[in-house]
Amino acid sequence: MRALANDISIERWTRSSRLALSTMGAVLCLLALAPLVLGAGAVDRMTALFVYVILAAMWNALAGYGGLVSVGQQVFFGLGAYFTIRLADAGLNPFLSLFAAALITGAISLPLSLFMLRLKGGEFAIGMWVISALTHMLVNLDRLIQGETGTSLISLNVYDSSTRRAVIYWLALASMAALLGALFALLRSRTGAAIQAIRDNEDAAAAVGVHVIGTKRLLFVLAAFGIAVAGGLWLASATTFQPKTYFSVQWTAYMIFMVLVGGIGKFEGAILGAVLFFIIETFFGALGVWYLIGLGATAVIFSLYLPRGLWGEIERRFDLQLLPVGYRLKLPGPTKIQWKQ
Amino acid sequence: MSLISIRNLEVRHGLLQAVRDVSFDLAKGDVLALVGANGAGKTTLLRSIAGAHLPASGRILLGGQDLTAVPSHKRIAMGIALVPEGRRLFSQMTVEENLLLGRTAGRQGDWTIDRVFDAFPNLVPRRHAKTGHLSGGEQQATAIGRALMSNPDILLLDEVSLGLSPLVVDRVYAQLQSLLTSGTTIVLVEQDLSRAMSVASRVICMLEGRIVLDKPTRGVTRDQITGAYFGLHRTNTGRTAS
């Protein structure tokens, strides 16, 4: 807390946020112990939850902070899985392959960003979808994949199923924690201030000297890497790779749903959205097509009536910030002025 | 009887309060010169009268009818036309098309395309040129013509001489001269004080969003206006306006 004149101070942590962060640490520790007590099905579901949190956080980083709405993020999900297959086929340990594949995908996203970030708004959004469709086709050409028939991550078979399940679970948990931590640190850093300035007003940010394109590129590459990790984890957990499943626009639909419901541009919002999505899927996923209609309709309704999402509303009504990435001005007396938004 | 009444108008741009507690009345045929430094709130006031910017509070009455919440496209049908600052022509469209757009509201009256071309003969050869390619004076004439095509009772002119050479300004004002005597009520925002005084029957000076002077042109001296313009009357309050 930094003191300014007249008892005004700037705070970056609040009491509730300190509490939230320590709670989160404790929850992570508890979650790490979960495979010892939970059944196989529950462990697999939790792994899926961690993947969802990663997807939501990464799409949020791109759209909520970078102002880049993409409907083609499934390209990185698919590539993460594809390169994992490729590397494992070449003899690399499947778990190592997973992270090496994410690094390769992240590296590919860099030259791609030079090109795609010159597009704006809807053109970027659908442009990414085209990239994804093209990549899907090209992956199909790989003999190893056998077109839409797909293939499996056979090398995982050397581990027995309970070890495999637990390792994937821990990897997913660790990846989620690391990616969230990295994003949190990034948003609180000097670059984070630039990122939030871009979110609020791109032209004004450029006018005060923020390197807009460079900052966006950072988010683009981070999101590509994170989503590729998620794709690799999904592959490890499902073991089969069918290009159609991994390059499906449905993944982006999930990301959009989670972030829109949770709160676009809110760090906590993406996590909340992922958890909600997980719960909804658990209870209503069996409804099949009506479940998907519900997801789409919810997205439409949130975009029209609650564009700030649930977390945005919670933050506004209760002045609550659990994982503060901004600054806020504390005035003497009961009123508080929010620095951001 | 007043044609239009502004009552305690407050207009905001986000947190910035651009117009504060402004009230005045205009009768038919009045020519009001609205003066004041940059940022005094003149353009915002005109835009909120035209409906392009809704006020935070206060009322705008036209012939007794409350207009405050009426959107801009309906106000022009009620007889209020704005020639906006910077002219704001549709640059991809021709002079003729811009003028035809002025007729959208469908008010009855004397103004036709031919009459606009009579009033602004410099536009005649440019009839089918895109307005993006016109000179500043031609653009200004088109913007005024476009507003006149709606046969307004009240014409709001925002900085018609901005960016024009003095010679061209002379021509625009010469062309306006007939209009000034035709009984149309006019509100004129003009930086050139003597030019504004020469055509107006009344002058209002704004400072930081407020009216600080409101007098008939005949009863006011240049020094009084300059004083109000810079806020000199307030120096004894301990604040100086820059």
Binding site: V69, V71, R118, L119, K120, G121, G122, E123, A125, I126, G127, W129, V130, A133, L134, M137, L138, L141, D203, A253, I256, F257, L260, V289, L292, I293, G296, A297, T298, A299, V300, S303, L304, P307 | H13, G39, G41, K42, A50, G51, A52, S72, H73, K74, I76, A81, L82, P84, E85, G86, R88, F90, Q92, M93, L101, T104, A105, G106, R146, S150
Partner: protein
């Protein structure tokens, strides 16, 4: 080879039809409607339903489907897009994407996963062709689609330049704020524009069903084709759409000569090359106009 080229060019007619609505909405409202393809497919299903259940042939069915599509466009703009566009440029992308998911899955729920086609209902038109000198055959349907594309684009052009409503649409597209100042109700005009766009989408849906098969999830690929044709031709330019459609059709037809998957790959690659050429050779950012608008807005709010 010449045969492939002619097929490709004529295929462009279909792409021009489906792209022109997307391009038109982008030109007027600066919105890219991600439900565009899904709406075209929905119109295809509408015609299929009329033909198979009520025996109304597709060309007569258009008399019912097109007014419905116009109403859908009007309502879409009035109750969804207008509201979401006020929340910023990014929100309509999310709204229309959500809408696409709803439409696709509703279609699936109603009609199941089977692929459908309108070809059985149009008699010999779907396979008849004219023979040109040199043993080249051109499909009658393909020619019809190209002719429709030209008529549609020409009609839109005429409407925009000669009619008061067309002028109002152009004025609103350029500067909605000033359009209000000259007496144009921008919301109404936008709703009209959306209605017109949806009529073209309805026609595109008919052609989609006549020349090929469709299923409930065909909307995504159709959106991509429409988008690619629109961008290749320069988004927001009417006749550019025709050129874009032809380029896309040619690239796909040529691609298909090389590889079974080359049809789609060829189209995507042509799109990326066109984009690349535009970004790096001309150096013109694609939505420079939207940015100028923003800057203007910024300058205006100063006083």
């Amino acid at each position: 080879m010449i045969d492939t080229l002619i097929q490709g060019i004529l295929l462009g007619g279909y792409y021009a039809v489906i792209a022109c609505g997307l391009s038109f909405m982008f030109f007027v409202m600066r919105i890219i409607n991600l439900a565009h393809g899904s709406l075209a497919v929905a119109s295809g299903y509408g015609l299929w339903l009329l033909a198979s259940k009520f025996g109304i042939p597709p060309f007569a069915g258009l008399l019912i489907v097109l007014p419905v599509m116009a109403a859908v466009g009007w309502l879409l703009q009035r109750y969804l897009l207008d509201r979401s566009a006020r929340g910023g440029a990014l929100l309509p992308i999310l709204t229309t994407f959500g809408l696409a998911i709803v439409i696709d899955n509703l279609l699936f729920e109603q009609f199941g996963a089977d692929t459908r086609s309108l070809a059985p209902f149009i008699g010999s038109l779907s396979y008849d062709s004219w023979e040109l000198p040199g043993g080249i055959y051109v499909g009658k349907l393909a020619v019809l689609m190209m002719a429709t594309a030209i008529a549609l684009l020409g009609g839109l052009q005429l409407f925009l330049s000669r009619f008061a409503l067309g002028r109002a649409i152009r004025a609103t597209a350029e500067d909605p704020d000033t359009a209000g100042l000259v007496g144009i109700d921008a919301r109404k005009v936008n709703a009209f524009a959306a209605a017109i766009a949806m009529v073209t989408v309805g026609i595109a849906g008919a052609f989609l069903g006549m020349r090929a098969t469709f299923d409930p999830y065909s909307g995504g690929p159709q959106l991509l084709f429409a988008f690619e044709a629109a961008v290749i031709g320069g988004a927001g330019s009417l006749w550019g759409t025709l050129i874009g459609g032809v380029v896309l059709g040619l690239a796909q037809s040529l691609g298909a000569q090389f590889h079974p998957q080359g049809f789609l790959i060829g189209g995507h690659v042509a799109f990326l090359l066109a984009l690349f050429a535009r970004l790096f050779l001309t150096g013109v950012p694609i939505v420079s106009r939207a940015r100028i608008g923003k800057i203007r807005l910024f300058l205006r709010s100063k006083t």
